[in-house]
Amino acid sequence: MYALPILIGVNIITFVLFFVVNTPDDMARMHLGIKRVSEAAIVKWKDDRGYNKPILFNGRVDGTKKITETIFFQNSVKLFVFDFGRSDSGRDIGYDISQRMWPSLAITVPSLFIGLLAYISFGLILAFFRGSYVDVSGVVLCVIMMSISGLFYIIGGQYLIGKFLHLVPISGYDTGLNAFKFIILPVLVGLIGGIGASTRWYRTIFLEEMNKDYVRTARAKGLPESRVLYRHVLTNGLIPILTGVVVILPSLFMGSLIVESFFAIPGLGSYTIDAINRQDFAIVRSMVFLGSVLYIIGLILTDISYTFVDPRVRLN
């Protein structure tokens, strides 16, 4: 139930950032060229995009319109019903989002699930061989992989698999089943890029769990190590893992900004980057709001999933 006040807060922050710190006049001047821009051109630019209304309170009209005919109401409050309005270049943002959602999901959903599976297994393997050479070399490898910027994984992957081995196209996207060959490389690159940090993080979680009393009890009962790991450590380790996954949830829709623009996938991530480069404030504003909505949905989902993983937690 904390969702609504947070959303209102986000809304106010974006509103202040986009309309109060920089007035629509500044934006118009920016778009039309900095110098030698006539007043009339600025007024026309604002008229076209509906930025010509007063910011908070409109004294020139009657009744409820005093509130509704303002920039705050038209551009910020309407976001609550997912009415994103039109972008500064005149396109319908809501339609664009619904179109571009699917390519993003096609990349991020497989990345998330394959990634979780892979990282958890790696983490378990390292935890199983704790203290041995397998563990030490695994951790060293993780630290080394963590220290490489994600950009290099993308560039390296594109060069090696796309250009050198010619296995899949370097970038692009297609509809339907043809999309498969375009998806493989981004998913793979995303997977490899995350291995270092995630595996080490999961290993730490599992080791922390293995240090607890119930694991000692299980071992004392004479359970084989594999059963201890899968039955006890894994299920208990899921709680912190779930918390970590929520942080990724918003990026599930938003797509990975960098990956999408590198691989020229027409998803939400590249949409946002294009908007940033074109300085289209309306789109960035909508994406900020959408992102925080998804984050809050993620928070609520975690709370619910806790009750499945850990029956002691009750929703109230």
Partner: protein, 466 residues
């Protein structure tokens, strides 16, 4: 005439703070003991040496001034408009040796063919000689390999010599401090009998100095990492980028630290409505995706800069303001984690007897926070500073790639990668800009990661037994 950028000022403020904290922490047993543990670790000490070299380069690059123009009249002082740093002076060799366009590492010939007019007036398409690369050679095709080998071995010898002097100097000072003979000190260092892992420090220093000497000796006649599109030395760019990386990695934490500490401790200590407000604040900020918040803010800064273009004296100052602003924004998006940790710790601490006793005696709230809570959360603050560093350096590269990072005119690894990316399609491929950025970033981030691991293990002993 010196010029002080805001970030320069903050960097030296930070340096001063670190030194002050060092002397403060030495007397506090709960802070000093884990550091002794860090000093025993070989990997941590190696990374510390590497970080030290990076920081030195960054500091040299943070002292800016307008250079004096040589004139005939010695009484009159005229300063050029250009802003240089001490590092630029040290590297003036690299800075001024500009080629026409791309050239491969250690090359003597240009990367692309050009029309060359020969002495007899005939024009042919061939690879022209570089202006500086391999300039001392008469016939680079046959001589260059031998010359490179000669220079590498010369650099190696010099490196050996210099590092031997430095290491001997350290041992000499140590023996004076320990009041032992030189030989026993050397013996103890090599057998690793001190509290500090001197052996690791010596080996790392040796490696670094030899590398530096080899690069120095090579770059007198070649471009070690080649040149970029406008013919600028890539090694110079990579070295200049160190400051940007360090500024982002350290100042961001410095900027957010006062807020995070104050808010976290207040929320945990006072509880009630203050806690609610602060929690609301950081959950709200947290729920906005970081990249988008940064993008929005940078966009707005661009609007501001373009509308107030007259307020800035130079491109450097504008770039510097953007760098600072980026640090602040990154700080705003990342202070929530530390704040939450501190709140949890303060909640625990406020129930401890000595805090309760202080309250019962009627000590004012702010005094309790300063005297009793703050010193006891210092280790958390320290760990988070060290842990955040590497992530921030990596984030800079990604942000510069989407054009919401540092100013495009500023040297940074992100900008290097960004401009090199466009050349990936060339055949043969232009790889050296990427390679240079990769190597420098990798070394810095790896050293930071290893060092922060050691620090965290020392301060957080839960996992030490594994």
């Amino acid at each position: 005439m010196p010029v002080i950028f805001i970030t320069d000022f903050l960097i030296f403020l930070l340096l001063f703070g670190v030194v002050a904290f060092f002397f403060y922490g030495r007397k506090q047993e709960h802070l000093a003991a884990p550091w002794r543990d860090v000093r025993k670790r070989s990997l941590a000490m190696s990374s510390a040496v590497i970080l030290f070299f990076f920081v030195c380069i960054g500091l040299f690059d943070s002292i800016h001034f307008h250079p004096k123009i040589e004139t005939d009249k010695s009484t009159e002082k005229i300063y050029s408009n250009e802003i240089l740093s001490v590092l630029d002076i040290l590297l003036s060799d690299l800075r001024l040796k500009n080629e026409k366009t791309y050239s491969a590492p250690l090359a003597s010939y240009s990367f692309s063919k050009e029309m060359i007019e020969q002495e007899n007036g005939k024009k042919i398409r061939a690879y022209p000689r570089l202006i500086y690369g391999g300039a001392s050679l008469n016939n680079p095709e046959s001589e260059s390999t031998a010359d490179i080998v000669k220079r590498i071995s010369l650099g190696f010898l010099y490196g050996l010599l210099i590092s031997a002097i430095i290491i001997n100097l350290i041992i000499f000072v140590l023996s004076k401090l320990m009041r032992a003979s030189y030989r026993t000190t050397l013996h103890n260092c090599l057998l690793n009998k001190f509290n500090t892992h001197w052996l690791a420090i010596f080996i790392t220093t040796l490696t670094i100095i030899i590398t530096i000497c080899i690069i120095c000796s090579l770059s007198q006649n070649y471009h070690v990492f080649g040149t970029d599109k406008v013919g600028q030395d890539v090694l110079y760019q990579a070295l200049k980028s160190i400051r940007t990386g360090l500024v982002i990695g350290t100042l961001t934490t410095l900027v957010m630290l006062p807020f995070a500490i104050a808010m976290g401790l207040m929320a945990g200590y006072f509880r009630g409505w203050i806690d609610d407000v602060i929690q609301y604040l950081y959950t709200t900020l947290n729920s906005i995706p970081g990249v988008l918040l940064i993008a929005a803010s940078i966009l707005l800064l661009q609007v501001y800069i373009s509308n107030h273009a007259d307020d800035f004296n130079s491109i450097e100052q504008r770039a510097d303001l953007r760098l600072l602003f980026l640090c602040i924004i990154l700080g705003i998006t990342s202070w929530t984690g530390l704040c939450r940790l501190l709140r949890a710790e303060a909640l625990k601490l406020r129930e401890i007897d000595y805090v309760q006793a202080a309250r019962a005696f009627g000590v004012q709230n702010y005094k309790v926070i300063f005297r009793h809570l703050l010193p006891n959360v210092m280790h958390i603050v320290m760990i988070s500073i060290v842990l955040d560093f590497s992530g921030l350096v990596l984030a800079e590269a990604v942000l510069s790639y989407i054009n919401i990072g540092v100013d495009p005119s500023m040297y940074s690894w992100g900008n290097m990668i960004n401009s090199a990316r466009l050349e990936m399609a060339r055949e043969p491929i232009v790889w050296w800009s990427l390679a240079a950025a990769f190597i420098f970033m990798f070394i810095l981030v790896l050293a930071a990661n290893l060092f922060s691991d050691a620090v965290r293990d020392a301060f957080d002993p839960r996992l030490r037994e594994f």
